[in-house]
Amino acid sequence: MSLKNVNLTEVVKRQYFFKLKANIDAMSSLVFLQLLAMLFSMGGSNSFHSSYDQVALEVSYFSGDVIIGFTMIWAFVTAITITTRQYRNHDFSFVTNRLSSSLSNILFLLTASIIGGITAILARNLLLVFKYIFSEEQIYGIPLTFQDLLLGVSATIIYLFAVSAIGYLIGALVQISKAFVVLIPVLFIGMLFIDGVMNRDPFIAYVFEFYVMESSFGLFFVKMVSTAALFFIASISILNRLEVRR
């Protein structure tokens, strides 16, 4: 038999298409999660005002925030899932090395983020349609401009990708040792606790401010993408040494 030489790009490409087919169930869970999120959003978020006794004003706000939140959870869980032993073993039934495995995973997560982002933003409209069908209320709002739509979709995709990077790293850490399942939450809560005791702003507030309060899209893009890249690089180097037991 003649020896065939393969290059990394070829293998990653084939693995990527393989994973798109193999992980199709992730997409159906996306649909169900978003439908569930719409169900939860039907009540709207309410704020209550009355500046004097006669008039009580209650405003219910409807938006796709919950849908985006659920989609972020989905991206996080999907990323963790593909780092588990079973999924890593799938690659080794065919042609792979650990680097190509991770690279094709990242491409898959990117695709998932794109699909998730587009559907999450569009889903708000379906929510409004459901609301219209099931309740008689008039809903007030300005239709989404194309520019806002584009902005929303891009930003959501970037959020999802970053969240999946976090999930991938956590998944990779857990693969080294199950201890991380306990360690990571304990560390997280511990830091919040210490911040509380020391009476200073929790570090999570700084994180929030750094990423979520960033109002320039360009800066936001750079921040999120570079953070995601860092997390992925860390994950790759962790997964690169792991044995595949089967």
Partner: protein
């Protein structure tokens, strides 16, 4: 050309040494049988060769590269056992298609024919197959891949006798048509005796014997007769196996380095000389104790 070269390979799990100072090399385009007791490290060795697990120390080279994380080794080798892991969402025919997209030498025609011969449902799912069918499917994938190194680790687990026969036959035929390096590890040495060209016997994590099958067949000889006579003849030899039959008779297996004349005199002295089949020999060599299971039930 040596496709696999192994020098002083060692592998420990949780402090326990499984492979220890293992050295051997395998030439290309040969069928080698990897024999040894349960737990001696056959699967471990094969997984190291396939690049699944890392060696603890020593050197292993497949196609002159370290197999762990080597894309070239992965593309030119395949590891087949009953634990081969496939995505549960894909149907069997999709798995074959996936294999064809990855393996450059994939023979879809062969795969389809074997698939139909063994009555698989293309729309079936891998995780719903019975044990025997799983092994069969995995073996089909292994065969059709035409990988330059094809590793079968206990490939016939769960297969019934006729399927096993078919598998060996298919393996041989395809091997003759498309020569490649094949390593089979199996407990059924007697079944694959006629398949193997070389035998690599592991004991205590080491390379105990690495011989062509022809030599293995003539490696040892069996002597049976009155116990005292046996003692005379094998006094200075290393006894591979001995067994007391009745009150006065013994059966003994020793290395066959007798001259023909010595064997003649042994026969004249009343000893029965028999050849030792490779599968029996392997059992005797790798035995931990000198006696047999009957000793457990003696003197009770």
């Amino acid at each position: 050309m040596k496709v696999i070269e192994c020098t002083d390979l060692a592998k420990s799990y949780f402090g326990k040494k499984v492979l220890n100072n293992l050295s051997f090399s395998i030439e290309e385009n040969k069928i080698t049988g990897l024999i040894g007791r349960n737990g001696v490290g056959k699967t471990t060795l094969l997984k190291i060769i396939a690049g699944f697990i890392k060696e603890t120390s020593g050197e292993i080279k497949v196609f002159s590269e370290r197999p762990f994380n080597s894309l070239n080794v992965s593309a030119n080798s395949i590891f087949v056992d009953d634990q081969m892991s496939f995505p549960p969402a894909l149907q069997l025919y999709e798995l074959l298609e996936a294999a064809s997209s990855f393996y450059p030498n994939w023979d879809m025609e062969l795969a389809k024919r074997l698939f139909d011969y063994f009555s698989f449902d293309p729309k079936g799912y891998h995780n719903r197959l019975s044990k025997g069918k799983t092994s069969t499917f995995n073996a089909i994938v292994g065969l059709a891949s035409h990988s330059p190194i094809t590793i079968f680790d206990e490939p016939t687990t769960g297969m019934d006798a006729s399927v096993r026969k078919d598998f060996y036959r298919a393996l041989l035929k395809d091997y003759i048509a498309h020569p490649r390096t094949i390593i089979i590890s199996s407990h059924h040495v007697d079944e694959i005796e006629n398949l193997l060209e070389d035998v690599l016997l592991l004991k205590d994590g080491r390379n105990h014997l690495h011989l062509p099958m022809e030599e293995l067949k003539a490696w040892a000889i069996g002597l049976k007769g009155p116990t005292e006579k046996i003692q005379e003849w094998v006094n200075d030899k290393e006894i591979v196996y001995e067994n007391k039959i009745g009150t006065n008779t013994s059966y003994v297996v020793v290395r066959n380095d007798f001259a023909d004349s010595a064997l003649q005199s042994a026969r004249l002295a009343g000893l029965e000389i028999t050849a030792v089949s490779p599968s029996d020999l392997c059992v005797y060599i790798t035995n931990q104790t000198k006696g047999g299971i009957d000793d457990v039930f003696k003197e009770r």
